[in-house]
């Protein structure tokens, strides 16, 4: 039987448009079966609440808002199990970055700036 680590390293890509991005690595207490979402929520609660991250439904995979890049692969943070080795979480690369892990996944018809631009332009 493999022994479980007490904690694991989770690296978060941070940045905003026009600002040079950087990564920060956090030591997150490990619990068997935990998700990447659990890890990001733990970091926001206990170390740095300023990380931008989009989620709503907490591990049920119902809201579909928490899609991010986990070790380079597109995944829902709520269903991706946290690796017992190391994990890097970043924003989706095919969407416009808003900040940190948040990208522009809101349909233009529901985005206030886009609605106003369409109204004023049309």
């Amino acid at each position: 039987m493999s022994t479980q680590p007490k904690s694991v390293a989770v690296t978060i890509q941070r940045g905003a448009p026009g600002v040079e991005g950087h990564t920060e690595t956090f030591d997150v207490p490990y619990r068997e079966g935990m998700s990447v979402l659990d890890a990001v929520v733990w970091i926001r609660t206990n170390v740095d609440s300023s990380i931008a991250f989009r989620y709503s439904c907490v591990n049920a995979n119902a809201c579909k808002e928490c899609m991010v890049s986990v070790n380079g692969k597109t995944e829902y943070a709520c269903t991706a199990r946290l690796s017992t080795e190391s994990t890097t979480v970043g924003p989706l690369t095919n969407k416009t970055l808003i900040r940190d892990l948040v990208t522009d996944i809101v349909p233009p018809k529901e985005n206030l700036r886009a609605i106003l631009a369409a109204r004023d332009g049309g």
């Binding site: 609660t45 609440s49 300023s50 591990n59 829902y76 900040r99 809101v106 206030l112």
Partner: protein
């Protein structure tokens, strides 16, 4: 700054908010539908797995009056009978309307299928297979709301304060989360459909947006709350082993369809000790099961994780698969084989019976302010019947939208810069400072964690005056502590600013729950006091909470609304 104008502003875009927007639009109103998360994605509706109660009477004879009797029985004498009656009567219309919109209710031989749920006298809980009710309903309403030309849908718009001028609602103030721009909205009527308060508790089953916004905004606008002592604890929330990609209340539909058995850590059935029924009968109501499990825990008869065992091991695999096909695969990917093992369950904060006090038109005591869905109190009394939350969202949402449109039509905008000023000044002060959370990047996260633990331990399933008083005292200290915390100065998607406003709502809501729970010196429904273990017929009244002129919470009692 962005300024918008509309007839009806709907705050919250779950089931109730979307239905309100649809109803307001078809009653000739222009609508802004705003959600701090994304339209139809946040809130509680999308989390619903199965049960939607409505007396359709397609399978076997049923009537809304029977549904009403069951609702009133579950409510332990505190339901507003007018509101409960509207809920049960109009649930049928809403379910049929959504059927016309092709939501996909499960059918057998052409008839919409209903299952039996605890507290119901007739099988009447309709659903969409498999455990897909919430997502299907959310998608159906999202499509309808998108077809309504007069509805502007805005995701990522946080509404923090209702603007009241001369005692009348004139709009609201908020901010665009994506870029932190202040937003003012002139509106003739506002519908609060921002859901419940489950996030106040450490163990909770709803989305992260359910932090008491609707209650706090209503109080600050001058409206009343009732029955705030009655958050509902769903008894058999998933506890262990770790499960991802599933709602923790998923075992409820399993029990509807398959029965299942509950055992304590000693392998013994225990519900009979608390007035419930054991074996495979799933008849015991939520308040009694939550109470029983919590008592077993106190007696040291729960698992290491603090839960009890739920077993489906006696049910053949084929039967499991017929009932829940794709879900059985999801469980397998979580390493759970129900034929081989039990799972551990324990109570989890799930719903709030209390809320904004409204009349049959969903109007609050403040002209122009309406409530809908879980944000509203009264229809479910001291304990909600399984399956009544989703129809409540539809029925009250539809009514709130319809009556708000009726109120708004023909009225002039009454926007007041003066009324909005204090709200804009606060936002400006919070976003203008150039410090990072007073140097403590986790200050807001830690306050959230502290509040959730405090509420769970001291304002949870089993209460005492000592615990409640300690909670109330601490919550009252935390309110000024929050005022001293500064969000970070990030301009884009600033969750610390959102945390700050969320906590502002949560602390006022938490204080409401604790105060109301102290005042109710009896045990009734979801409110269980260890120092007052019996129901007290003299307390068969509703408790009303308001803010007085100094901003302090005050309570008094109202007689229960009876049907005319």
């Amino acid at each position: 700054m962005i300024h918008l104008e509309t007839d009806v502003l709907v705050v919250g875009a779950g089931g109730a908010g979307m239905y309100a927007a649809i109803a307001a639009a078809r009653n000739d109103a222009d609508v802004i539908l705003a959600d701090k998360s994304m339209i139809s994605r946040g809130g509680a509706t999308i989390m619903a797995q199965m049960t939607t109660a409505a007396a359709l009477g397609e399978q076997e004879p049923d009537s809304w009056e029977k549904h009403l009797n069951d609702t009133l029985d579950a409510g332990r004498g505190l339901c507003n009978e007018e509101l409960s009656g509207i809920l049960c009567r109009e649930a049928v219309d809403r379910i049929h309307e959504m059927d016309d919109w092709k939501v996909g209710w499960a059918r057998k031989d052409g008839k919409i299928t209903g299952v039996m749920a605890p507290g119901h006298s007739v099988p009447r809980c309709v659903y969409v297979d498999f455990l897909n009710t919430g997502p299907a309903v959310a998608k159906c309403l999202r499509t309808q709301v998108a077809r309504a030309n007069s509805v502007m849908r805005v995701s990522g718009l946080a509404i923090n304060d209702i603007v009241v001028d001369d005692g009348i609602v004139v709009g609201a103030v908020g901010w665009n989360i994506e870029d932190q721009t202040p937003v003012t909205i002139a509106a003739k009527a506002v519908v609060l459909a921002a859901g419940g308060l489950t996030r106040l508790y450490a163990r909770n089953s709803a989305s992260v947006n359910m932090n008491g916004d609707a209650y706090a905004m209503a109080l600050r606008a001058g409206a009343d709350l009732i029955d705030m002592e009655f958050p509902q604890f769903f008894p058999i929330g998933h506890l262990a082993p770790r499960l991802v990609g599933m709602d923790p209340i998923m075992w409820d539909p399993f029990r509807y369809k398959l029965g299942g058995r509950l055992f304590n850590a000693e392998g013994k059935e225990f519900l009979h000790r608390y007035g419930g029924e054991d074996a495979e009968k799933y008849t015991t109501t939520r308040d009694i099961i939550s109470y029983g499990i919590t008592k077993e825990n106190e007696a040291g008869r729960t698992t290491e994780n603090g839960g009890v065992h739920l077993s489906f091991q006696h049910i053949p695999e084929e039967q499991l698969r017929n009932a829940f096909g794709p879900v059985i695969d999801k469980l397998a990917s979580n390493g759970i084989d129900l034929t081989k093992r039990t799972i551990e369950v324990s109570p989890i904060a799930h719903y709030h019976m209390g809320g904004i006090r409204v009349n049959e038109q969903m109007e609050t005591s403040v002209p122009g302010l309406y409530g809908a869905g879980e944000a509203v109190g009264g229809a479910n009394g001291a304990n909600r019947l399984s399956g009544n939350a989703i129809p409540e969202a539809f029925v009250f949402g539809e009514r709130a939208g319809r009556f708000a449109a009726g109120y708004a039509n023909g009225r002039k905008q009454g926007w007041s810069d003066m009324g909005a000023e204090e709200h804009l000044d606060r936002l400006d002060a919070l976003t203008g400072r150039q410090t990072d959370a007073n140097g403590e990047l986790s200050a807001l996260g830690e306050m959230w964690a502290e509040l959730q633990t405090l509420m769970w331990d001291k304002v949870g399933v089993l209460r005492t005056e000592v615990k409640l008083m300690a909670a109330l005292a601490r919550i009252r200290e935390m309110r000024p502590e929050l005022e001293a915390i500064t969000p970070t100065n990030d301009a884009e998607f600033n969750l610390t600013l959102q945390d700050w406003y969320d906590l502002r709502s949560a602390l006022l809501t938490a204080e409401s729950v604790a105060l109301a729970a102290i005042n109710r010196t009896e045990s009734r429904g979801a409110h269980q006091r260890e120092d007052y273990e019996e129901i007290d017929p003299a307390q068969s009244h509703n408790q009303r909470l308001q803010l007085d002129r100094n901003g302090s919470l005050v309570s008094d009692y109202l007689s229960v609304g009876r049907a005319a």
